[in-house]
Symmetry: C2
Subunit: 397 residues, 2 copies
């Protein structure tokens, strides 16, 4: 919580103003403000947007900082999962160190909040959750991290995993995760009953990976919506990926999307170019809350993703054929305000009274900000400068 006077910044690409931050919150915005003892930062006319929100990632998975990881696994989901469990040993992937590296790269690129799924399995137990919890503590005031207890290797098919999930939630994980209830656990009803029971027991929200395409995924979505309604969990459930909503059956997907809106279930997308994906403008039109994430970054799955929500805004724009300035600004909004709405962040925004979480963009317009790879000149978290010129001030281990 710091006092700060930001000079000559353009909130949401508008006219240049000064912004005073007192005790971590935006206290005053005006064309010109006199300093009264605060640290002063000249923003040079850069655009300001609220802090970027990485709403779907895996902080425990990256191999950043190690040598190049040679991937010979291919693209089969189970093969990639099994490979990763084994490689964690061989590579000596320390979950705290690795999540610090990943998280601080996000900060350098303008993030102020992240939701991370963290693997829990019977082979590694709670080691990954403990490592990321440690990172969450270490980065308090720099990056707010939500942790999803995530049964990456399956929940019911690996006896003992449910008990570990239970422990993780008791020791600080924020949400219950799930994964392809048919494809992984071979028991959609059993899987989702277990996930929602855990959520009820701990009074926590849910965020389920759903890669299942077509009607199989649609059935899983139906089961998720039934449980959300029956348990009164509207507003507390998110589905990540939801590739089934990209299937080529307009009427079937329309009914699902409308029902998602009615249940206030949020969707988190990566805009995966290789898969059918829910189209973001369609979700927006239906009133579905929508955030985005970069997914795993430089991990044993793939080296293609980068820890940068502006890079992700461009990918989402490409995947969803967003070209106009208005549409590109929407891509940016998904990666900031959209994620904040999914995570239910209090005090998020650039209005007076909001927490001063923001990033500057070196761009003429919001649309340019969504597609440019220029480093972010300045990142501010509750009034404290956390990054300059693309690099976090806190050094990664």
């Amino acid at each position: 919580m710091t006092d700060l006077l930001l000079r000559n910044l353009r909130p949401m690409g508008g006219a240049a103003v000064d912004m005073r931050v007192l005790a971590g919150r935006i206290a005053e915005i005006a064309p010109s403000l006199a300093a009264s003892g605060e640290t002063v930062e000249d923003c040079g006319g850069a655009i300001a947007i609220p802090g970027l929100v990485e709403a779907h990632t895996h902080l425990d998975k990256t191999v950043m900082g190690l040598g190049w990881y040679e991937n010979a696994v291919g693209t089969d989901l189970r093969a990639m999962i099994d490979n990763e469990r084994a490689e964690r040993h061989r590579l000596g992937l320390d979950p705290h160190r690795q999540s610090m590296r990943h998280a601080l790269a996000l900060v350098g690129a303008g993030c102020t909040h992240a939701r991370s799924h963290v693997d829990i399995d019977t082979e590694h137990g709670l080691a990954m959750v403990e490592g990321v919890l440690q990172t969450r503590d270490a980065l308090r005031g720099i990056l707010d991290i939500e942790i999803v207890a995530f049964p990456q290797s399956g929940l019911l098919v690996r006896p003992g995993t449910l008990e570990l999930m239970d422990k993780a939630l008791a020791s600080g994980a924020d949400l219950v995760g799930g994964l392809d209830p048919s494809g992984m656990d071979r028991d959609p009803t059993g899987h989702l009953d277990a996930v929602f029971a855990l959520a009820q027991k701990h009074g926590k929200g849910v965020d389920i990976h759903l890669h299942e395409a077509g009607t199989l995924g649609a059935f899983a979505l139906e089961l998720i919506m039934e449980r959300t309604r029956a348990l009164g969990m509207q507003g507390k459930v998110a589905v990540s990926h939801a590739f089934c909503l990209g299937m080529n059956d307009w009427h079937a997907t329309e009914a699902l999307i409308d029902e998602l809106a009615a249940c206030d279930i949020a969707i988190l997308t990566t805009g995966a170019p290789s898969r059918e994906v829910p189209q973001v403008k369609r979700l927006q039109a239906a009133g579905v809350r929508l955030g985005a994430g970069c997914d795993g970054v430089r991990d044993t799955w793939s080296p293609l993703n980068r820890p940068d929500m502006i890079d992700r805004a461009r990918i989402i724009a490409m995947r969803n054929n967003l070209r106009s300035d208005a549409d590109l600004a929407f891509a940016l909004e998904i990666c900031s305000t959209g994620g904040a709405r999914v995570m239910g962040l209090e005090g998020y925004g650039l209005e007076v009274g909001c927490i001063a979480d923001l990033t500057l963009l070196n761009a003429e317009t919001l649309a340019e900000g969504a597609v440019s790879d220029a480093p972010r000149p300045l990142v501010v978290k509750a009034g404290r400068v956390t990054a300059r010129n693309g690099t976090a001030l806190r050094k990664a281990p």
Copy 2:
């Protein structure tokens, strides 16, 4: 044509060697070579690959170097085409200046060759072709540019366009272009007859934009293949985009792909994330020659593309679900050797005897080279250094 001694480079990611270039060609490759009067460049262990090949772009379209272009047009193809024709006047887009900017950005990113479609229409006549011809001359020895005479606004629907195309081919354009024979010209047979007649008259190859999806695009492909066979033009025809090959009908697309291979018709892809696209591994397995391009860059259509074939390799990898090291090296190959094969480049490669067109990559492995945005440390064209650290030595206007 220059003599050059490159020290400590790793061709295709292999062991470090020295490479001697004499009169523009690779003369010698050995673990250690003594200089005998050549300029010496220390490559610091960087990977060397043959020069990147931008095989589908539009050098006459970019707004690079102007202020931000605000796009309010949306995504309708005809609306985007009409908007561009009008905006060329309003923005004062000088085709020589703009193509210089675009072309030199490509050089900075490691390109040694580019194939550019160049608009021809009854409103602007041959102004764009003349501008890009001027750029081709200006950049001789820096970037080899192939020009496709391209009827962007339609061929038969705009009387007078065919005559302009004829003139462009007489005055130096290398190939005959075409565009959505049903979608734009409303006469697939007439359009393709006209395109192939021009190619026959001038003894030149063909490169047709085919955005038409599904069975309409498949029919256009059939007409193209029929004409290729009838006229003995195997090896001289390319189809850009070919979105119809991404349609969800395995048997229909398999027959088309096999027939493409039999006709030796090449495919040029951008890996467009928003469209169904031909899957690159499937084309490779069938033996179809395959290159890639970034398409238009920062133009009135969209600001999403960058003039960088490594950025494009990553997008193609994302769109085609290429993750393993072998597959990522293949993405890089499409963007270099693949394009060279489509363009029929003589002396392309890193073997002794080849023309010394190459780029260095700051990467441990070819796979890392395909996904990293690190600036290219050095670009060489026929033994002459054309770019350093991501920037062309020749200044753009």
